[in-house]
């Protein structure tokens, strides 16, 4: 078996998700190569070379791969996939954007959001917002897989893989990058944080999310939100946790003013410990919470912040 892992890049740096995808590759077994593609990605390539279990890092450093646009990335993967039995990427918005193109061009199915490995061809994946877990077997000659990174523990970074440059340059006349508006935050990223505190519609407005910030600062937590809070314009979309937002599985998840719709639960119910703060003692979120506190969040949050 030989596996190619597509690395996630943020701002020229290797994203934390890749260490989790390599862990999934190790569970499949065989040789693991990592593809680092982008513009100015040397630092990311060096970081990828340290991931345990990686034998080779292949670096495609060219302006055409900047921002990892789907069209050139699909074409690049098509050039490189020969000889591999599996191609893996994280189920990030990049992995989801790029990998199905490879699958279609190779005339194979893609297995999305894999959370468990039963063997080289058999995998577990959630369906229906995580309300059922399917075991699927692929008889395709190439397995194209996106991996839910929160389901695999990151590999350590004590490895020393070789790094090789690849000079495949594809053409792209169909798409171009216009702009990016990225959230600026000193807090840990949602996907990797050990503690997440999320606010819902109950927060009332965006200003009130400051009540969560103080607690997040004390706990080193990332701040998330329900879709209702995002739709209402309290906070930006990248903070949404849930079936159609980010999937998180921190050690501690604190849901504040969130009712607990199945679409929200789909994004956080694998957290180790869940705390719910809600004024409605019938709110469904209490059915999954380890510790529920019934009361007004505007009283509870300041008290919690001062006592932590």
């Amino acid at each position: 078996m030989s596996i190619l892992v597509l690395a996630d890049i943020n701002d020229g740096q290797l994203a934390s998700a890749t260490a989790h995808v390599v862990a999934a590759a190790k569970a499949i077994g065989g040789d693991i190569d990592v593809l680092v593609a982008g513009e100015g990605v040397q630092a990311a390539a060096e970081a990828a070379a340290k991931l345990d279990g990686v034998s080779k890092v292949r670096v495609a450093d060219n302006a055409v791969y900047a921002y990892q646009l789907a069209e050139p990335m699909g074409a690049l993967l098509m050039e490189l996939a020969n000889g591999y039995t599996h191609v893996l990427a994280s189920a990030s918005t990049t992995g989801k954007n790029v990998l199905p193109r490879l699958a279609a061009l190779k005339d194979v199915s893609q297995l999305s959001d894999v959370i468990g490995i039963e063997g080289a061809d058999t995998f577990l994946r959630p369906i229906y917002a995580g309300n059922a877990i399917a075991t699927v077997k692929s008889d395709d000659p190439l397995k194209v897989i996106t991996v839910r990174s929160s389901a695999f523990d990151a590999v350590a970074d004590s490895g020393s893989a070789t790094v090789e440059a690849i000079d495949v340059v594809v053409e792209n006349t169909q798409s171009s990058f216009v702009k990016e508006e990225l959230a600026q935050s000193d807090r840990p990223e949602l996907g990797g944080a050990k503690v997440v505190i999320s606010g819902g519609r109950g927060m009332g407005n965006g200003e009130n999310f400051k009540l969560l910030d103080g607690i997040a600062d004390k706990l080193g937590a990332a701040v998330g939100a329900s879709r209702a809070a995002v739709d209402a314009g309290f906070v930006p979309n990248d903070m949404q946790v849930g079936q159609t937002g980010k999937i998180v599985a921190p050690d501690l998840y604190i849901a504040v003013g969130i009712s607990g719709a199945i679409q929200h639960l789909a994004g956080m119910k694998d957290s180790k410990v869940i705390v719910a703060i809600n004024k409605d003692d019938e709110a469904p979120i209490f059915q999954v919470a380890d510790y529920g506190l019934v009361g007004d969040l505007f009283d509870i949050l300041p008290e919690l912040e001062s006592k932590l």
Binding site: L69, K96, A104, A132, E181, D238, L252
Partner: protein, 249 residues
């Protein structure tokens, strides 16, 4: 410009699904079905493009059983002009759906194809991307804004870190995210009118596409149930539990 919209019949998003006792699949007998929410957004976007005079015709297409015609009628009631039903009772995976849609794109030559970013049953999030690859067209996935300008389209995409805008040459494939628009409700007169709008019925064989997949479903299980815990009476008790019982502080 013609706009093609792909819609899928799925379980209603409010329904809590159950796994069959023999673990062969989820039990969909007698559950309420509806148009995939992301597909409603796709239809809405297409209809708005028509209302703005950017699109001249909106064609809705689905792959699925006879009953999926209900969702096509919904699309017609919302403002699509005509519909194509590719009828099959088989379990059709994203790749086969994409192959069929590619044939339709070939025939219809739309300027824009709009799909949902994911279907809420299988949560695959791949059909649009596969269609783009098969038709060799550019893609703007997870769109929260779509602006057609001459022979290009600017798509603002919801990505993990925020928003990204890309410019694509037309024709192009777009998949919708939740905040692209708020779909309207179909009005009764429109529902009546929709019954008279044209609907073509085809089969995968008409397009020469084999829908069988090399992926088999071995079993379906319920996820480990999370047991509800306890209610604490105060902030002090909460902090104490988190420190001394759960040991996460």
């Amino acid at each position: 410009m013609k706009v093609l919209v792909a819609v899928k019949r799925v379980i209603d998003y409010n329904v809590k699904i159950r796994v069959k006792a023999d673990h062969s699949d989820v039990d969909l007998t007698n559950v309420k079905m509806a148009m995939n929410p992301f597909c409603e957004i796709a239809v809405e976007e297409a209809v708005r493009l028509k209302e703005k005079g950017v699109a001249t015709e909106v064609v809705a297409v689905t792959v699925g059983p006879k009953a999926a015609q209900e969702q096509l009628r919904t699309a017609l009631a919302l403002g699509a002009d005509r519909a194509i039903h590719i009828e099959t009772d088989a379990r059709v995976e994203s790749l086969a759906v994409a192959k069929l849609l590619a044939k339709v794109v070939d025939e219809e030559q739309p300027g824009l194809v709009i799909l949902g970013k994911q279907a809420i049953d299988t949560d695959n999030n791949q059909t649009g991307q596969m269609l783009a690859a098969l038709t060799n067209l550019p893609q703007g996935t997870f769109a929260s804004e779509v602006v057609v300008d001459g022979d290009t389209v600017n798509v603002t995409r919801e990505i993990d870190g925020g928003l990204q805008t890309v410019a694509l040459t037309l024709p192009a494939i777009v998949t919708t995210d939740l905040r692209l628009n708020e779909p309207r409700y179909a009005k009764l007169p429109d529902i009546m009118k929709a019954k008279k709008k044209p609907m073509d019925v085809k089969t995968p064989a008409d397009y020469g596409i084999e829908v069988a997949s090399k992926v088999s479903l071995l079993k379906v299980e319920s996820p480990a149930e999370r047991k509800g815990g306890i209610k604490v009476a105060s902030v002090d008790e909460l902090i104490d539990k988190l420190k001394n019982e759960a040991k996460v502080l």
